[in-house]
Amino acid sequence: MSYHVNEKGFYGQFGGAYVPEMLYPNVEELRQNYLRIIQEPDFQEELQLLLKDYVGRPTPLYFAPRLSEKYNTKVYLKREDLNHTGAHKINNTIGQVLLAKRLGKKRIIAETGAGQHGVATATVCALMGLECIVYMGEVDIERQAPNVARMKMLGAQVVPATSGSKTLKDATNEAIRDWINNPEDTYYIIGSVVGPHPYPDMVARFQAVISEEMRAQLLEKEGTENPKYVIACVGGGSNAAGAFYHYLDEPNVELIAVEAAGKGIDSGESAATSILGKDGIIHGSRTLLMQTEDGQVTEPYSISAGLDYPGVGPLHAHLFVSGRAKFMNATDEEALQAVLELTRLEGIIPALESAHALAVLNRLGAKPEEIVVINLSGRGDKDLSTYLKHFHFDEQ
């Protein structure tokens, strides 16, 4: 079984490029050029230098002693929260902005949910001197206010998406519409392993640095490149794709994808696509999709803006259907408890998204000698007001 994209842009039955003709030339241009450009030596040289000196890579692989003790297993955290801008998203935006420059594009657009991808895009645009427009759902503008402020400070224009549930899905719709209206000078930096081929593959390649580093770091610390488990949260699935990438063909490594259950799988307010979704098309990709019987997209829900999406990337749909990855989920409440636990046991305040990955530690069944790597995709600064309110620390 192959877990990599085939020449038609599919992972098993999922993927492809279901775009209207207006987008066809743009997507084709990317498809024909992305591999060639990212394999060029001068591209790689520029990318590697920026990842090292600007982003701050490699990020540490941290052995978490008190968390390990509590769950009686060996827990490592891959510290993507320590990247410049505070999440894994910048691994991808650095790569794509270099690509956009080589394609001669002048104007950058992006969608964002939690605002981390928006900030990471605004950051690389400031660095490269490019115009930047970020679409963000109105609900997310509200709940991730610190990131909105950062984007503005960086010179990006933040455009509210006001349709549907006013979250990530709707921001993505608006970004795609912008691209349709500006086909010549504009480059769309998608923030996850979603969208039409070649985006899922391209974003996965840029995030693959996460598992590339994990392998080397584990070898050094544990004498083996392979842990027993790799755990990552899944919104669209880019941090998970990066954490899984170099383990896809290592059947002994169990890949655990954690989705947002929201208020509970059966509550009607959830974003657990692997359970609630079925085969469909969203944002140019055939994948698992939360939808009605009539094929209308369902509004998802999660307290975490970055996981509040009714689909998953086609790679993850394939990993789910083929059984290569195990899909678990965590509710809002479980994620919040995991936030407090990590904060108080290890002195690390995680993002709400990342906390979903932490929240399954107690039901993993990992043995004492087994190695568990959790991809800590981002830091929690953006979520502090939610945390303070939830734990009533604002009243003390």
């Binding site: 207006m22 209206n181 009539d294 209308q296």
Partner: protein, 258 residues
Amino acid sequence: MNNRIKNLFANKPKGLLSVYFTAGFPSLNDTETVILELEKNGVDLIEVGMPFSDPLADGPTIQQSSTVALRNGMTIPKLFEQLQGIRQKTDIPLVLMGYLNPVMQYGVERFCQKAGEIGIDGIILPDLPLREYVDEYKAIFEKYNLSKVFLITPQTPEERIREIDSHTNGFIYMVSSASTTGKTLGLAEQSQAYFQRVASMKLQNPGVIGFGIHDNETFASACNHASGAIIGSAFVKALQQEGSLQENISTFIKSIKH
């Protein structure tokens, strides 16, 4: 080739007016009334929009009509039920237009069979890739005598236009400029060059220009370059005016054709 579409272009090779509306808008059961009124007012071809929750290629007007239509309860089975007896009442060519996902969930073959039975003439699914259509669905569309209409844009390379032309058998939907639906900037200079370029290719299918056509002037200008033009958002907006459906439709079509 489908006879109603073929006859239309044979009998009226120039100046043809095609109108799009969203089924289920303004009210759930307006579908038949809108079709019959459009025909009565001299429209030549009708595109019946199947609403979708996430219409990527559409601007605010059609997004909003789609949202209202879905809230009103419009679905593909409902639309088929409304159109069941339509061929006893009118012979106007009817094309269904929508996004792939709802059709996929209904089942593509089942959809084509039902549309064929009702007397639908063509289907437009902008996000169904050409390759996938040719490899998986073309035989089905042909079996039920449905024309599959494809879009081209000013950015579509000549080679691809020829490929599209070879796989379709109704008309080609020429998107006037790179945009979502509902922009009213008029037809730009560059668009004229693109229209002429396509005209000079001598394609087997006639071309109809859509996107941005919203008044008498843009309609007339588009008709100079192709067999006709398609009006969508401007018509959907007209349906929201005060007054009866009949009045709104007649006033709007008169304003285009005067």
